[in-house]
């Protein structure tokens, strides 16, 4: 089984996003960027499947500017075998990413695509589902457990109200939730080894996909700020204050 894992370079989950003064977006200069946590979980799961002898190759792909290679290198350090960078400037929407990824799937012919459930910058939660639709593949989103059973996958998903388990025939697409696994910290030798693994660079233009965004951003602004609160001395004061504001 061959696994393809699309990975995105996103703001580090510990960094605080700052808005650009002209309200056109988020200022990413001098902000720490890392592999999106959900993508990292997807890579870890793919590598575990290979280590368990269930997968033969793990290929990672990222769409973005040259810096996106950092996400690919992180994935290679976890244990992915090789990378593909699809260079595209500016804002590329999930639908476009999904179309580019569909082309990569045509070329690479993986049996399983593992994506993150969401990128923690745009918070779209769309790309995996869109890719499954374009490929007409079955999908299991928000996976917390993935098992290979012959030519089928048994996936447990986190849904409102609890868990749902599905059986998918391959090829299939799975998006990862947080509790699927805890990604390893790559060892120094593996980080060094990752630098030598092959990464092929291609231009998004070569795929014949229209890269123009469909949506236009009118502005990006701060959310409404909360009024500063107060500290109360004890439980008694807390309860009387809550009664005073009418929520009890």
């Amino acid at each position: 089984m061959k696994i393809l894992v699309p990975v995105k370079l996103a703001i580090d989950s510990n960094a605080k996003p700052r808005l650009k003064a002209d309200r056109s977006g988020i200022d990413l200069a001098n902000v720490k960027l890392s592999i999106n946590p959900f993508c990292e979980i997807a890579v870890e799961e793919a590598v575990r499947l290979r280590e368990a002898g269930k997968a033969t190759e793990v290929v990672v792909v990222s769409v973005g500017v040259g810096k996106a290679t950092d996400a690919i290198r992180s994935a290679l350090a976890i244990g992915a075998d090789r990378g593909i960078l699809i260079e595209a400037e500016g804002r590329v929407e999930p639908l476009t990413i999904a179309k580019l990824l569909a082309k990569v799937v045509e070329e690479e012919k993986p049996d399983l695509v593992l994506t993150g459930k969401q990128a923690i910058d745009d918070d779209s939660n769309q790309t995996g589902q869109m890719l499954a639709a374009l490929l007409d593949w079955p999908q299991a989103t928000f996976a917390s457990q993935v098992e290979l059973d012959g030519a089928e996958l048994v996936v447990t998903r986190e849904v409102d109200g609890g868990h749902q388990t599905l059986r998918l025939s391959l090829p299939a697409l799975v998006t990862t939730d947080l509790r699927l696994n805890e990604p390893r910290y790559p060892s120094l030798p593996n980080i060094m080894k990752a630098k030598k693994k092959p990464v092929e660079t291609k231009s998004a233009e070569t795929y014949g996909v229209d890269l123009t965004p469909r949506l236009s951003v009118v502005e990006v602004r701060e959310p409404a700020a909360r009024k500063a609160g107060i500290k109360v001395a004890d439980a008694q004061e807390l309860v009387s204050k809550l009664k005073a504001v009418g929520v009890l």
Binding site: E93, L95, Q129, L131, R214, L215, A235
Partner: protein, 311 residues
């Protein structure tokens, strides 16, 4: 402008999330039809028909829809999509699973987690864990979006008698099949619709303590119970309780955070609550920056005192 709202429901009743998403759908102006797809879902369809401002309820009743799998539902919606200018669903796990599949097939971009419909083609939605609000213009031929239901009031039932129409069910073979479901049964209000939420963090220390400390207080307040990711990961609470960027987004009248530090990913899920209370023994905990009322205390002592003060 004709809008199709895809309902969340349990075959019997229509989910609160649907009544809130309906408010967003109506804000587009124009007619709104509700699609109820399920198995034995006549009652949910009738409940939807009582909601204010609905033109028509479409009922697709078939075994294929019993577990809300994305593949047959997408095929169904695509079969009726040509009559609509907008397709909308709550940003619930079901809506998030389904809607992008439909958008991709229609070759249109989706807007996720809409918090405001500023016009028929202008939407606001949070990005970066709610640290920024993005306003987008959507010129697509069909507007496809999920609704962050915490940002909208529910559309009430006004006893209308909107017609319920059965829709023909396309036959679609699916390479995804349902195996099983484990759903938590609870007498407590749902996180998404509760007026009060009591949430616990890593500080609770164990599932036993989590239940022992939170449940009596939640019972006194008629509250739903939530949790931080750390508490869920440690197994103190089920995954469905997680509040935050990647869990449930809530905005109750009163949110009580017990032993939760206030990481941005947690704040993303609750900072639009009307009144926030935080109990934390670390006075520097970031949760206090969003709390209207902060109590610096050991929660194991404070909670019984709060219960006593509530009388």
């Amino acid at each position: 402008m004709k809008t199709l709202l895809i309902a969340d429901h349990d075959n019997q009743t229509v989910a609160d999330a649907t009544t809130k998403a309906l408010t967003a759908a109506r804000a587009l102006g124009g007619e709104v039809d509700i699609l109820v797809a399920g198995q034995g879902a006549q009652s949910a369809a009738e409940a939807s028909a009582k909601l204010q401002g609905v033109a028509k309820v479409l009922l697709a009743d078939a075994e294929a829809y019993a577990h809300r799998l994305a593949e047959p539902l997408a095929a169904l919606v695509l079969s009726i999509a040509p009559g609509y200018d907008a397709i909308v669903a709550p940003a619930s796990s079901a809506g998030k699973n389904l809607l992008p599949r439909i958008a991709a097939r229609l070759d249109v971009m989706q807007v996720s987690d809409v918090t405001k419909v500023a016009g028929p083609d202008t939407f606001e939605h949070p990005i970066y864990a709610g640290n920024a609000i993005e306003v987008v213009k959507n010129p697509e031929r069909v507007k496809v979006f999920t609704v962050r239901t915490a940002a909208f009031a529910a559309t009430p039932a006004d006893g209308a008698s909107t017609p319920v129409e059965a829709v023909a069910v396309p036959v679609a073979e699916s390479r995804a099949t349902f195996v099983r479901e484990e759903m938590a049964k609870s007498e407590r209000p749902e996180l998404g619709s509760a007026k009060v939420i009591v949430s616990g963090g890593r500080a609770l220390g164990s599932a036993e303590k989590f239940n022992e400390v939170l449940l009596p207080l939640a019972d006194m307040l008629g509250a739903a119970v939530g949790a931080s990711r750390a508490a869920v990961d440690a197994g103190y609470a089920p995954n469905d309780f997680q509040v935050g960027q990647t869990g449930k987004i809530v905005a109750p009248e009163l949110y009580i955070a017990l032993g939760i530090s206030g990481a941005i990913q947690h704040l993303a899920g609750m900072k639009d609550s009307k009144v926030i209370v935080a109990v934390n023994k670390d006075e520097e905990a970031p949760i206090f920056q969003v709390a209207d009322f902060g109590l610096v205390a050991d929660l194991f002592q404070a909670v019984p005192q709060i219960e006593a003060a509530l009388g």
